[in-house]
């Protein structure tokens, strides 16, 4: 129907976004919605691009370095933000993203305001496909593992999770590091396709794009954000309007989803099986009130409490 030359870049950009949003999904599993996705991706991208461009490293080790630097940055942010209130955490990640963007702006070595250019082309559809499969596999396995369940428990109710023996700090640090590792790797792979890096792209508005994918698709199941990224990346590309009309439509779709499907496209009741399974896994089922019951009690209390 459409030529390969047309849909190949669309497919590559879509899959790149799937990798990045998967990383964000993992980060958000323990309840921390980061507004620094673009910055973390950018750190991975700059790290890998410097190695391949200036030091002639091969592609795979460079991406590995990006993955590791992503993990380190993620763990670092988590260490600082682990005790913060939700709203403040978001703001701190936002400020971090802007700060990284400004720092990149002022480092001449990586091109500063003039962009980092001359990155060799390593990424093609096959590479992106393999990377996407790896990222989704990692996220999927983590999601279903004990650690993943612990992270969900932390998200739903940190106090109850702590009471069942889950370390909130460890869980949050782990998800932030793992998610950021995926994001860092994704950023590196993206850099070797677009071939230039601009500090402006590390900022808040790009990060918000990934949040939009996540919320649009629904953040309670892995396939939600994946679907969100696919729909919101591919569809605007496939509609061959002038770019402004495309963006108007994009904005409209977001508003409509926020107003009429506040849980995102794919939903799952968040009080789910995860917590019950966690309780069973830790063999504390009866001894403690189930987190669900805690939630409901909290709801009833809240109404009586002065606001």
């Amino acid at each position: 129907m459409l030529s390969f030359a047309f849909w190949e870049p669309v497919a590559i950009f879509t899959l790149l976004n799937v990798i990045l949003v998967t990383g964000l999904y993992v980060t958000a599993l323990s309840g921390q919605l980061s507004l620094a996705t673009a910055a973390i991706a950018g750190i991975g991208a700059y790290a890998a691009a410097v190695l391949t461009t200036n030091f002639n490293w091969p592609f795979v080790p460079a991406v590995a370095v990006a993955v590791v630097s992503g993990a380190i940055v993620g763990a670092g942010i988590a260490t600082v933000t682990v005790k913060m209130r939700d709203f403040i955490l978001k703001l701190t990640t936002l400020a971090f993203g802007e700060a990284v963007s400004v720092i990149a702006f002022n480092i001449e070595y990586i091109g500063g305001a003039n962009s980092f250019t001359g990155i060799p082309l390593y990424t093609n559809l096959k590479v992106v496909l393999i990377a996407t499969i790896i990222a989704l596999y990692v996220a999927w396995r983590f999601d279903g593992s004990r650690l993943g369940l612990a992270a969900r428990a932390v998200r739903d109710d940190p106090l109850a999770a702590a009471a069942t023996g889950v370390s909130v700090r460890a869980s949050r640090t782990l998800t932030f590091a793992l998610g950021s590792a995926l994001i860092g790797g994704g950023g590196a792979i993206q850099a070797h396709y677009v071939l230039t890096l601009n500090p402006q792209e590390l900022g808040f508005f790009n990060s918000l794009t990934y949040i939009i994918f996540l919320l649009f698709g629904g953040m309670h199941v892995l396939w939600g954000p994946v679907l969100g990224a696919i729909i919101l990346t591919a569809i605007p590309e496939l509609i061959r309007f002038a770019s402004q009309y495309r963006l108007i439509l994009y904005g409209l779709v977001i508003v409509v989803v926020v107003l009429f499907r506040p849980e995102g496209l794919l939903t799952r009741t968040p009080t789910g099986a995860g917590r019950r399974r966690l309780a069973r896994l830790l063999r504390l089922g009866r001894a403690l009130p189930t987190p669900g019951a805690v939630d409901e009690r909290a709801g009833a209390d809240r109404v009586d409490a002065p606001r």
Partner: protein
């Protein structure tokens, strides 16, 4: 010394516009409980409304100004009815995303309608430079600053001295109690959004005159900074927001003057990180949301 004075002056003028936008932003946030990322784009719509009035209706300054205010207020009114009201009391991030969707629509809608590039602004105020020695100020800067000050004073008076202004503060602190004492929260929130939008429209016209152009994406420059001003000040006292915005303008001007203009946009975020680290509720305190 001259540089310092000149930059202080420039900073205060820029800061006064930040203050108008940031004040509107935080008024809407505290009353409607929505982070309205479309607010800076309402500012943009006001700018274009003034431009169109100047081009097609009259070159009269007052006409252009009123058109800017009305254009912005009309968009604010629609936004409140269609998006802000249903989003109230939803998760912060959802509201942010919804208003951002509106922002994207407004920006690109205006770009499609007018032009994605800056459009020349009608010259309805003569540009005269005043100055002694090396310090200079233009008539456009005076108009810009003067209008901002008038609007800040008016907003201050409204919030402090009028019945609906009091209700605004009451809702900000305890919406339930306000409702139980007869305040129609939806109505006050609507009035607030319309007033904040109209204010932004006036400021936008003066900025358009100052820079001689209107741009569909101008909101991006103001949006994050007004958000930052509100967070740094906290949303408990509106005067604090104005103070922080003026200070931010001055700091930016000083950084531009003494370091480099590429660092200018980092100032806001540096201040944000430092302040939130020591005072998570902002300098002057916040209401829990």
């Amino acid at each position: 010394m001259t540089l310092l004075l000149q930059q202080l002056l420039n900073g205060l003028i820029i800061g006064s516009t930040y203050a108008v936008v940031a004040l509107g932003f935080s008024l809407v946030f505290t009353v409607a409980r929505v982070i309205n990322f479309a607010h800076p784009d309402i500012f943009m719509v006001g700018m274009f409304a003034g431009l169109l009035a100047g081009a097609h209706i009259s070159q009269n300054f007052i006409v252009v100004l009123v058109a800017g205010a009305l254009g912005a207020a009309a968009v604010g009114y629609g936004l409140e009815r269609v998006v802000l009201r249903p989003l109230r009391s939803r998760d912060v991030l959802m509201t942010l995303m919804g208003t951002l969707g509106v922002a994207i629509m407004l920006q690109n809608g205006m770009a499609a309608l007018m032009s994605p590039d800056p459009v020349a602004y009608p010259r309805v105020v003569p540009n005269v430079a005043f100055g002694t020695g090396d310090i200079s100020i233009s008539s456009l800067q005076v108009v810009n600053f003067g209008l901002s000050v008038v609007m800040l004073a008016a907003a201050s008076f409204y919030v402090r001295r009028t019945r609906y202004g009091r209700a605004t503060r009451a809702i900000a602190e305890r919406p339930d109690v306000a409702a139980a004492f007869g305040v129609d929260v939806n109505r006050v929130s609507q009035i607030t959004v319309v007033l904040a939008s109209g204010m932004a429209g006036v400021a936008a016209v003066s900025v358009g005159l100052l820079y001689g152009s209107a741009w569909a994406f101008v909101g991006l420059l103001y949006g994050l900074k007004s958000f930052v001003c509100m967070l740094v000040a906290g949303n408990r006292y509106f005067d604090g927001v104005m103070l922080v915005a003026l200070t931010l303008g001055v700091l930016e001007a000083l950084v531009t003057g003494y370091f480099s203009s590429s660092l200018r946009d980092a100032v806001a975020f540096f201040v944000l990180i430092v302040v939130l680290y020591f005072r998570p509720d902002g300098l002057f305190g916040s209401y829990a949301v």
